[in-house]
């Protein structure tokens, strides 16, 4: 039976076949033989998740734009598909031309969340690429990775040949050029990796040696060859207007999670919330101009036919001319029946005016993220939002005709007490009261308040990188307490699986030895850990035991100031000193101002011309 026949046979049996069939609008932009360099872009989760991801659309367009490189997509198959593929001995194939993964020159993974790590191993294995970097030969692809989780690359150091740290738009092409050059000139894999290490923002883990102290902490991470830099500095694109942004997106046939035009209006955030890794990693703040955004919106609308545009960024409400942007977009999109939505509303920055305009088009539920229940706790995490702010915005929303509100909180934050948990319930009650304060004739029917409480996971490059995560017993006790106090009429309470957050914490601050655990867990059958139905906590714990590692060492241990952290050789631009200072302030519940109001000296001010706010006013 030939390949296509086998595929057809499988597709007849598998659930949700369209996940695997491709042929979507705006894909398959080029032919395999038209380009010398083949890039296999792997999203280590299902099609529906991967196709919702903006970063992938950007890089897909960016690589395919170059005349010499081609990019095709790979996603993590669901378990039924994996079983069928194994039965037919089919390798992991690209969505576009159905080439196996190991026939690509570069295999690139995007690292969005730690719980996708086992899928990386699974995809490599199905794609017949040797799992570990050291096992790969001259004819195997170069395996690279980027995205937020690349900032602590150590748990994946055994499996990834080269990491790209920071913004990908420039370094991606530079990296591909090196690999193309190797292909043309035929130099060795080793030389290629060393060449890659010379690029700014590229970290090649095999060129570094790690030593450990007796207590298990890291003693040092040092380069073992001259090409490797002592510290790898993240890449930053300084001007978003001149940075590549796609003018067309692949449009899936089936519904995916975010099935709309995503317009990245800015990158970075100046708020300085202390739990937020993205807020630190994506500094400094850079805005796309209104003219550029309107131009992109019109082109994307024409090339996709989407019905909705969402403005995307960490803190869209902070965009300097948000009301004008929304007004202009609405004006131009009205005849095209395109609605505009704002996904990450900051409760203290959305103007009532814009809310009223949004409402003309579509009334989805509004999302607010106070993150903590009391003012003290919000000061600890530097979430610069007061109860009055929140309730004011909620009132505006109810008066504007909304009746469905989602509130996001975290539990397990450093210094949290029962009072802070009770504060969550208090806030929910006050939100309900605001609704009933609006006269019956003016408010929309069907009040729905959803309270989601996630488990806090301390992350690298945040002021809480030294903090201990709550133990499972504590988390479970707190969730029980929340269930009781949130048993309020009109409130739906959602909480997060604590076991997943525990494991996430191990990887988020893990060292290279976590790679052994990952490999062992994968061999035992762990994969698709982000999904309840496939997550196997028991197998993960077995893997830790067999590797002689204690997960509590990674998740529940408070680090000291002078401990070498496994990611210390990665330079995010933010200094360790600044983060420590922020940690100390958090212990005193002292806030730090938004750095648009004046530079707080996070470290980026040292890089010339990178942060426009730091340049505007010296430290």
């Amino acid at each position: 039976m030939d390949l296509n026949d086998k595929i057809e046979k499988i597709l007849e049996k598998v659930q949700k076949a369209p996940r695997y069939t491709g042929g979507e609008m705006n894909t398959e932009v080029k032919g395999w033989d038209d380009c010398p360099l083949h890039f296999g872009f792997c999203f280590p989760d299902t099609y529906e998740v991967g196709m919702s991801h903006l970063g992938m659309k950007i890089l897909y367009g960016l690589i395919n734009r170059e005349s010499w490189s081609l990019c095709e997509r790979f996603f993590m198959p669901w378990t039924d598909m994996m079983a069928l593929m194994e039965e037919e001995q089919l390798p992991l194939l690209s969505m576009e031309s159905r080439h196996p993964l190991n026939e690509f020159d570069v295999v690139g993974f995007t690292l969005q969340y730690e719980m996708s790590f086992s899928n990386i191993l699974a995809m490599l294995k199905m794609g017949r690429v040797p799992l570990e970097s050291r096992e790969r030969g001259e004819n195997d692809p170069i395996v690279v990775a980027g995205g937020p989780c690349a900032f602590n690359p150590e748990p994946l150091a055994d499996f990834i040949d080269a990491f790209m740290i920071g913004d990908g738009e420039e370094v991606m092409t530079e990296l591909n050029r090196v690999i193309l050059e190797r292909k043309e000139k035929g130099f060795s894999r080793e030389k290629c990796l060393k060449e890659l290490a010379k690029l700014e923002g590229v970290y090649v883990p095999s060129l570094y040696d790690v030593r450990y102290n007796e207590d298990g902490t890291v003693a040092s991470v040092t380069p073992n060859c001259p090409e490797a830099k002592t510290s790898v500095r993240k890449r930053v694109v300084t001007d978003l207007n001149s940075t590549y942004y796609p003018e067309e997106f692949p449009v899936p046939y089936t519904e995916v999670i975010f099935d709309r035009i995503m317009l990245e209006i800015m990158r970075g955030c100046t708020r300085g919330c202390r739990f937020c890794q993205a807020g630190m990693l994506y500094r400094p703040v850079r805005e796309r101009s209104m003219e550029k955004l309107i131009d992109l919106a019109e082109k994307l609308q024409a090339s996709t036919g989407y019905e909705e545009i969402s403005l995307s960024s960490l803190s869209s409400g902070d965009y300097s001319c948000l009301p004008e942007l929304i007004r202009e977009l609405m004006k131009r999109m009205k005849d095209k029946r395109v609605s505009i939505s704002l996904p990450s509303l900051r409760i203290d920055s959305v103007l009532k005016e814009s809310l009223e305009e949004t409402q003309q088009v579509r009334k989805t539920s509004l999302t607010f993220a106070p993150e903590a229940g009391t003012q003290r706790m919000r000061d600890v995490i530097n979430k610069g939002v007061t109860e009055a702010d929140l309730l004011g915005k909620v009132r505006d929303a109810f008066e504007g005709g909304w009746s469905s509100v989602k509130l996001y909180f975290m539990s397990g934050l450093p210094t949290e007490t029962t009072e802070d948990l009770d504060g969550i319930a208090d806030l929910a009650r006050k939100v309900i009261a605001e609704y009933f304060n609006v006269p019956k004739t003016q408010r929309a029917k069907g009040l729905r308040v959803t309270v989601s409480v996630s488990v806090f996971v301390p992350k690298a490059f945040t002021p809480f990188q030294w903090a201990a995560q709550d133990t499972l017993e504590k988390i479970i006790a707190k969730q029980e307490h929340l269930k009781q106090v949130l048993n309020i009429k009109g409130v739906t309470f959602h909480w997060h699986e604590p076991f997943v957050s525990f494991l996430e914490a191990c990887f988020a601050r893990g060292d290279r030895r976590m790679g052994n655990v990952l490999k062992r867990a994968f061999e035992k059958g762990c994969l698709l850990d982000g999904w309840n139905e496939t997550f196997r906590y028991d197998l993960w714990m077995e893997a830790f035991r067999e590797c002689g590692l204690d997960p509590a060492f990674y998740a529940h241990r408070e680090r000291s100031k002078d401990e070498v952290l496994p990611w210390d050789h990665i330079d995010s631009g933010i200094t360790k000193q600044f983060l420590w200072h922020e940690k100390e302030k958090s212990e005193r519940a002292e806030t730090t101002k938004d750095c648009r109001k004046g530079c707080n000296g996070c470290g980026l001010q040292r890089w010339k011309g990178v942060c426009s706010y730091a340049n505007a006013r010296s430290v």
């Binding site: 609008m25 089936t254 019905e307």
Partner: protein, 224 residues
């Protein structure tokens, strides 16, 4: 003005369900920039209907969409712009402008033509060989599955034409709003006749949708 357009659902996307195909056509229309009419109301949608839903797993050679236009456009322009706006697996082959009062396609639908490719040669030979014997019977029984019930029915009166050639079975089967013989029912009956048990792998392609002209002849629906 309404535009009746014939389009394809290619083999690669045959597992896409009808709702997703509908949405894809709508997005194609939005990409084309053609002046389509929208419904009024809070969530405006394009005024479009499809002659018949094609099941998941089946390909279609001549599926028909019926789009209400806000302004008149020529058939050529409709075709050109839509073909630029649609993915390769969903290209259009014909368009015909009709006036607003033209009867609804669904109501005029009488039958559909199918090309059933039997994947295994042995099975194909047996099924093709069983055609004449089966058609000589007074009644041909097959199971009809609806949402609520499974029952036996006689599909003989629902078969207009049936012939075999190599690994293909060509069939013209009744398809109206009320009554239909699905290709699966036909294969089931043929398998019974040929004494084949177990799963039969068939690639179903609906090659045409038919209506009836004033002389009682079956003709392509879009020409009525």
């Amino acid at each position: 003005m309404r535009m009746l357009a014939v389009f394809e659902k290619g083999e690669r996307i045959r597992h896409i369900g009808h709702l997703d195909i509908q949405r894809s056509v709508q997005r194609g229309l939005r990409r084309s920039g053609l002046p389509v009419a929208y419904s009024n109301g809070f969530n405006p949608h394009i005024l479009i209907t499809f002659a018949s839903a094609l099941s998941t797993g089946a390909c279609g050679k001549r599926e028909i969409m019926d789009v209400t236009m806000a302004e008149d456009v020529s058939e050529e322009e409709f075709l050109t712009r839509m073909n630029q706006a649609m993915p390769p697996e969903m290209q259009l082959s014909e368009a015909r402008a009709v006036d607003q009062k033209h009867p609804a396609l669904m109501a005029s639908l009488r039958a559909a033509e199918y090309d059933l490719l039997i994947r295994e040669k042995d099975t194909a030979d047996k099924l093709v060989g069983a055609i004449s014997a089966m058609m000589e019977k007074d009644a041909v029984l097959a199971t009809r599955k609806t949402k609520t019930a499974v029952r036996e029915c006689d599909i003989k009166p629902l078969i207009y034409e049936l012939k075999g050639e190599g690994q293909h079975i060509y069939a013209t089967l009744v398809l109206t709003e009320k009554e239909a013989c699905k290709p699966g029912m036909l294969i089931e009956a043929l398998a019974k006749e040929a004494g084949i048990e177990g799963e039969i792998r068939v690639l179903i392609t609906r090659t045409g949708l038919l209506g009836m002209d004033e002389n009682g002849n079956l003709v392509p629906l879009e020409t009525l």
